[in-house]
């Protein structure tokens, strides 16, 4: 603790929270997002048959959070597309991931050590987006606590929340599950993050925003890097959630995640896993087979 104080945590947080995201962090965000798109079963085939559909999906993966937040705040959903350089960069990443000769680019960025760095960088962008979303909503609705949480949430979760419709664009339809019914770790963390940043923005959480950004970024980056390295999808929140849900909502103990694997009553909706539930290994094998 004294070491931290000597390092002057506040100053580090300040510098960190002012750091520009473009282009390094944004590129990492685009690469990891489009990598996840390529892991989706059938996406490689779509990229061959209909490049326009594949490009649209890639844009949804990269900019879904902006699109959703703009819709929720009543702006133009394609407002972010005025930033030509960002779109061109994301399009270049999309092209390299899907069409690079010998699949070289994909092999490089999917190489675990490289990927772990990229995943960490992506979480930096995610935290910033949540904070920016809450701030933006606060600007539009000064006392709209619910609006702040919702906008921060969609800024953090992005395309996951509309994955049903993103899949529909690729000709896939899985109505029996969605990201709200079976929340993955990033979506849950975005929700909790949005609540924290909303409390901070409305002065109920006595902490500087830059400090909160630093702490939340560290938590998210660590969690995601560990989970990616271990091909795991267990959530660090599982135990607390399981107890809170049991007390408040009468959910059976053992957590909602475990529950719907064991309980036969919920069986009809479990065979189709959500995007993030599929083990990364399985997805990579699928993606490789599809090449």
């Amino acid at each position: 603790m004294e070491v931290l104080a000597a390092l002057n945590l506040g100053d580090i947080a300040q510098v960190f929270s002012k750091m520009g995201m473009f282009p390094v962090f944004d590129v990492a965000y685009y690469i990891v997002s489009i990598l996840y798109l390529k892991y989706e079963p059938g996406s490689v085939e779509v990229s061959r048959r209909s490049p326009v559909a594949s490009w649209l999906c890639a844009m949804l993966y990269c900019f879904g959070s902006y699109i959703l937040a703009d819709i929720l705040l009543g702006s133009s959903p394609i407002d972010y597309f005025q930033h030509n350089s960002h779109i061109l960069l994301a399009s270049a990443v999309w092209y390299l991931v899907f069409y690079c000769p010998l699949n070289l680019f994909y092999k490089c960025v999917a190489f675990l050590p490289v990927k772990l760095v990229l995943v960490a960088l992506k979480e930096v962008v995610r935290t910033r987006k949540i904070a920016a979303g809450v701030h933006h909503a606060h600007h539009a609705y000064h006392h709209g606590l619910f609006i702040m949480v919702i906008v921060g949430y969609v800024k953090g979760s992005g395309v996951a929340l509309i994955s049903n419709f993103e899949q529909l664009l690729r000709g896939v339809w899985r109505p029996d599950t969605n990201e709200i019914l079976n929340m993955s770790f990033p979506t849950k963390a975005s929700l909790y993050g949005a609540i924290l940043f909303t409390l901070q923005e409305s002065h109920w959480l006595p902490v500087a925003k830059s400090t909160l950004i630093l702490i939340f970024t560290l938590f998210m980056a660590t969690s995601k890097v560990v989970m990616t390295a271990r091909h795991s999808h267990g959530s660090p929140f599982a135990l607390i959630e399981s107890w809170v849900c049991h007390l408040l909502f009468g959910s059976p103990l053992g957590g909602s995640e475990e529950d719907h694997h064991h309980a036969p009553a919920a069986a009809p909706s479990s065979p189709l896993k959500t995007k993030e539930e599929l083990s990364e290994g399985a997805r990579k094998r699928k993606a490789k087979k599809a090449e």
Copy 2:
């Protein structure tokens, strides 16, 4: 008539149309709406597995009309969520209906005499919403008759019009029917009400708005109370509609409702009933079994 004149109908209508809806009428609206959500098959299970999805559905049931009208008029869809007290109230009702110990709250409000009062109060709110929707649209588009009707219509019908997507949130997908294809009584009445209020707003119907509100409220409340008490879903418009549709659109006589029960041609789309077509008794039994 002389009695009505002696009572000074105009004054009563004036007072009635100025009466505040918050919180008594609004709470009744929330209770009845979330009661209908609980009647939906599978909704109790969703409330155990994913409280967030259940809460979102409840918000759609309570505020779907505002969300839809805001979308249609180009505002932020979550604009209404700035009213924290309304959201908190609706959330409290949602919590009590779904998670109250011993299911006490649900048993109280689903008790027929209580429910009839609540249903009547809900119709008061519905009529107000239609009138407000038409007025709002008139403000934005002075000569937009179609826009007034459409906005009034969605303000009256609310979540029913997007029930396909509300169900999707709970993992249910029934593409072969929707509220436009098989309109229930409240949806039809909202359409006719929106047309009446539009005619009034554009001075083609020579009647005071407060009087129209009073009369339409009485009609809606009476109809819904009688229908709820008798577990009936026949529409008072059936006879006139059947003749008008026969003359204008060549629909077979007997009404579209009866028709698609008897005609084998329409059979593929009839097994799945719309929300409001299911008898209330059946829904209650299902809801109780799900407990």
Copy 3:
């Protein structure tokens, strides 16, 4: 070329690009659009069972491009519905096409020589819409090249881009295909047209806008008239596209269209053809049978 010069091409283009579309061209647009709606399997039955759903679909067919462009630019989706005369005209066409005694109106406008004229007039409107869409987007986002292309594209393609949801309104759900995955000729041409008009608007294409409108209109009208007359759905772009896609995206040679008919890998998604892929003859037969 000398003849063209003598005719003073620039002046003709100027006059042509200033020509009013209402009501002659617009009526042709409405007639052809609603004709295509009537060709859709099941649409006649829907028009009998639920005139409201049928009318809504007709409005989507006629004004889908305005609705989509308004959504994308953050305006009210029903903004265009303030033009009462256009809505009434389209509604009259809808009524005549679906409910005219003895099906007289339908027989007249579906008579090939009449239809060819109407199809040509429709393409005049389509080109104007693309140009207007690009111009409108340019006005809102001066450097938003992507936004201009997207808005011009949706203005040209209209309801085709949301055909999944238009079908859902009629109780039909075909998730395994959509207009982006399997683009029809008008959709593709709209995309290329939107790119051309965007290049013109941002002064990268050294040609007057009126000239571009004239040339693109002539190309579209000729192509569609020839295709309608020959009941063909081959695209004039097929050869170039096939080579470009092969070089850029590694698509197998032979074109994406042919490919997904021959390749067994794509078979699961091919049985359900897109709207425009069904031969017109087959659609007419279906429409007649449904009478």
